[in-house]
Symmetry: C2
Subunit: 334 residues, 2 copies
């Protein structure tokens, strides 16, 4: 049994068990999340994303250390999500090892998660784990992702503040990635800033930022997962993503980065963006859960072999996929 009082009380073992249930998407995990939901909504969710080789993990470590080393240390959770490893789950092991420096601190909780298979599964499990950390009283939740693609966009949609990490000299195609990812960035970080080429990288980012803003900035709140009416007018004060150089290896630039994160939080609250993002986030979750429930409901009422027969007809090119769906749905209306 999951002990939810122990989770709310901040007991690590209870939280660990809960996270496993959430990752495995069990009934018990879902039930626990429903129970814990009223206790969520307090944490600051910070997404950290960027291409491989930028040193994201070290930077996340430094941020966590920063939050611990202030006069009023905050409880910090690190969730390292690896969408690039759909089968083995072994790829994030390196991150775990690198974070050993933090593991003796009772105010820090580190969890890695590889993709569990289904397309929506990762976003689902990530959202659930973030809620669990939130309910357990972690004030700062750092969500780190590897790779470049849709998963980053999903994480950004989950986070309040999104850091996009770059580094000098990562090869010629890197430019192509930046274009898309820049538009989800609240703060840009040029890590490994002691390497040659840092000026070039920063200059490229700055010129791409000018292309991307302000239009892209204003419109990015209109997330497409929300069929709920978009309620976001233009922000009263625009946030223009700052660029901060860091050297995660020795902590250089990290205090300044922490200050930018704090400033972004203030901006979110003052502009009303925080409420809008919260609403968008919950709307996306509701949307996804509704979709899952509808499919489950349909399946529960499906006749044995119904789907197989439709599939056979597709393979024989007797039906198009569109016609097959019509047939499967119509059978249900009688």
């Amino acid at each position: 049994m999951l002990d939810l009082h122990a989770v709310l009380d901040g007991q690590r073992l209870a939280l660990t068990r809960l996270l496993t249930q959430i990752e495995n998407q069990t009934e018990a995990g879902q039930h626990a999340l429903a129970e814990l939901f009223p206790h969520t909504g307090r944490a600051h969710l910070i997404g950290v994303t960027g291409a491989p080789g930028t040193g994201k993990s070290s930077l996340v470590n430094q941020l966590a250390l920063g939050y611990r080393k202030t006069e009023a240390p905050k409880k910090v959770a690190i969730l390292a999500v690896d969408p690039s490893s759909p089968f083995t789950g072994g790829a994030v092991l390196g991150d775990r090892i690198r974070m050993a420096a933090l593991s003796g601190d009772a105010g820090v909780f580190i969890r890695s998660m590889a993709t569990r298979g289904s397309l929506g599964g990762l976003a689902h499990a990530t959202a659930g784990m973030v809620q669990a950390f939130d309910a357990a009283g972690y004030e700062i939740i750092l969500i780190e992702t590897v790779g470049a693609g849709q998963s980053e966009v999903d994480i950004a949609r989950l986070a309040h503040t999104t850091l996009v990490v770059e580094a000098p000299g990562l090869g010629d195609d890197i430019q192509a990635i930046k274009a898309g990812i820049l538009e989800i960035a609240d703060i840009l970080v040029v890590n490994k800033a002691d390497r040659p080429g840092v000026e070039t990288t920063e200059r490229a980012l700055r010129s791409m930022l000018q292309l991307a803003h302000p239009v892209a900035h204003v419109f990015r709140h209109h997330g497409q997962a929300l069929d709920v009416q978009a309620t976001a007018p233009e922000s009263e004060a625009l946030w223009l993503p700052p660029i901060q150089r860091t050297v995660a290896a020795d902590g250089q630039g990290v205090p300044e980065l922490l200050a930018y994160i704090a400033a972004h939080r203030v901006h979110l609250e003052a502009s009303g963006d925080l409420a809008r993002r919260e609403r968008a986030r919950l709307a996306a979750e509701l949307d996804q859960r509704l979709q899952d429930a509808l499919v489950e409901h349909w399946r529960a009422g499906a006749q044995a072999g119904e789907l197989e027969q439709a599939l056979d007809a597709l393979l024989a090119r007797q039906l198009s996929p569109q016609e097959a769906v019509q047939r499967l749905l119509n059978g249900r209306k009688g």
Copy 2:
């Protein structure tokens, strides 16, 4: 109006128009796909994926040239999908320019597509465009993707033969990416093989292959999108992914790579894997379409403001997402 006879007849302008309708997910596009479906199922779908900086685009160009320069040239379509650019759609422009060398050839059709927003949207549109190319008589369809993540896995699920491209010296985190992506590879390519470090890269790939196979190989057909009973027994003959060095810049290794692709096609047919992959592919499409239709059907019957009210209750933490979904679904049963 879309002229489907012109599409089936191989007329480029008609195909271009159709592709735009599919990309924009219009009714007309969906209707056309349903009509064209009986004419699909003949093309060889080849996925080409890998991290940024590996020279995928140049390699795809070379493969296309290779298929054109034989005694019996094949019609080749190139679909360059960029999941990393969810907003601007500008990132693949570079690829378009690089492929200009092929653009004078009437037997080659090149199309780029950036993410259209929704998580499932890209996979949806990609599958539709591949069907259009297939119906229009393109015998080889090269599907190129940028980045590393779930989108690659989706593309691999779509393709008959998946090439994973690596290159020497792409940075320290690259190892982490390989782990997941290796397991979707039918053929591994070490491109830029004239660069230093090629032996190291190839050795690393070889040792990772040994870890990944044969177990991962046998199980990868059990795609999780298929709720249709998995019908795949172990393949009679296992395909162990070969590693081929190439230098796309001058075409070195490309004839050997083409031979491996042809050999994989023969393996797919002889082992029964082709039929299994086709079935899995269509099952995934059916699954997705059924899901979309169910959600659409629910929305059509939703009361005005029903979803908004549920969302308000979520924001106030009066309901959990789980309870909200229950309420939304129960209202429908009366």
